[in-house]
């Protein structure tokens, strides 16, 4: 009788504990999964542009009131070395530096525009050009403060009839 009472007392003194081991196992599995599967996203932004409402037409590029940025692949093999030509009416400038940060060509041209709200930039490019050059032109236009940035039809059809041929870039 006394022995039974002592056993009961000893059992009562033992703590009633939750077995945490399976939970810790699962939590560690989840942790390892998220460490391995998780990818940190690079901060992304966006540049807005408008497409021509009437579709790609030759008429759109004939408008002389817009600044035209033309990107062409003149070197043949190297698709990552385009010729950049910026035109506004009779003025034209050439060189990839125009698209770089710190160049004021586009800002200067924007000041020459009569109606900056309606006039803007038209980007014309050959299909072979790497996309990041198009984004450079878009970025440079946005940096210069243009709000109206649009894209012209593929250069094969969009090039202005009678326009002067583009000579290889002299840098």
């Amino acid at each position: 009788m006394a022995e039974d009472l002592r056993k009961t007392e000893q059992q009562a003194e033992q703590e009633i504990g939750l077995n945490l081991t399976p939970m810790i196992d699962v939590v560690f599995q989840l942790l390892i999964f998220f460490i391995l599967a998780g990818k940190f996203r690079v901060p992304e932004g966006r540049l807005d542009a408008h497409l021509p409402e009437g579709g790609p037409t030759k008429g759109q590029i004939d408008k002389i009131e817009d600044i035209r940025i033309t990107l062409r692949n003149l070197t043949g093999n190297n698709k990552d070395d385009p010729d950049v030509l910026v035109e506004l009416g009779e003025d034209d400038y050439r060189g990839v530096r125009i698209l770089e940060k710190g160049d004021n060509t586009l800002v200067t041209l924007q000041k020459k525009l009569g109606n900056p709200e309606k006039q803007g930039v038209v980007i014309v490019a050959e299909g072979e050009i790497r996309f990041h050059w198009i984004m450079k032109a878009l970025n440079a236009s946005a940096r210069a403060g243009f709000e109206k940035i649009s894209f012209a039809a593929p250069i094969e059809t969009a090039v202005k009839p009678g326009s002067k041929p583009i000579a290889p870039l002299d840098r």
Binding site: L47, G127, P154
Partner: protein
């Protein structure tokens, strides 16, 4: 009579509570920072643009078109042809079409790899024009650092 110590049967246990706390904190951190919404966003090397606006509040219903370096078009993690994209665009653009106008207000985000040929993007843009979609944005990576414009 020998005196038996009272705690002779008690097990020596490690206190797991702080460790579990920390492990849960780490787990919650990884769950929150790991991007689970990447269905729309393929792994691409985006072009850099310092003028890119933060894409914090994307327009509702915006379609994201991914273009890989080899020219593959990916929509919601699935490879898609230009024709199929055109059909999809036309169908979805209808919902956003203005009553009085022909063109649609459906927003489109093009996420193209920096080294893809422009002709691929041009074809997508032409498909957008054919579907009367004109509201277009291009995804760009924001350069890290104060004095860089990327590339």
């Amino acid at each position: 009579m020998p005196i038996r110590p009272r705690d002779v049967g008690a097990k020596a246990e490690m206190n797991m509570t702080p460790m579990i706390d920390i492990v849960f904190q780490i787990l919650i951190f990884f769950i929150l920072v790991s991007d689970l919404q990447t269905k729309d966003f393929a792994q691409l090397a985006l072009p850099m643009a310092d003028q890119a606006k933060p894409d914090v509040d994307p327009p509702k219903g915006r379609m994201t078109i991914n273009v890989k370096e080899d020219g593959q078009i990916i929509l919601r993690s699935v490879n898609i042809t230009l024709d199929a994209l055109g059909k999809r665009l036309k169908a979805e653009a209808e919902v956003y079409r203005d009553r009085d106008k022909e063109k649609s207000d459906k927003p489109i985000l093009i996420r193209a790899d920096r080294d893809v040929e422009y002709s691929v993007v041009q074809d997508i843009m032409k498909t957008c024009v054919d579907s009367m979609v004109w509201k277009l944005s291009f995804a760009a990576a924001k350069p890290q650092g104060p004095d860089r414009d990327g590339e």
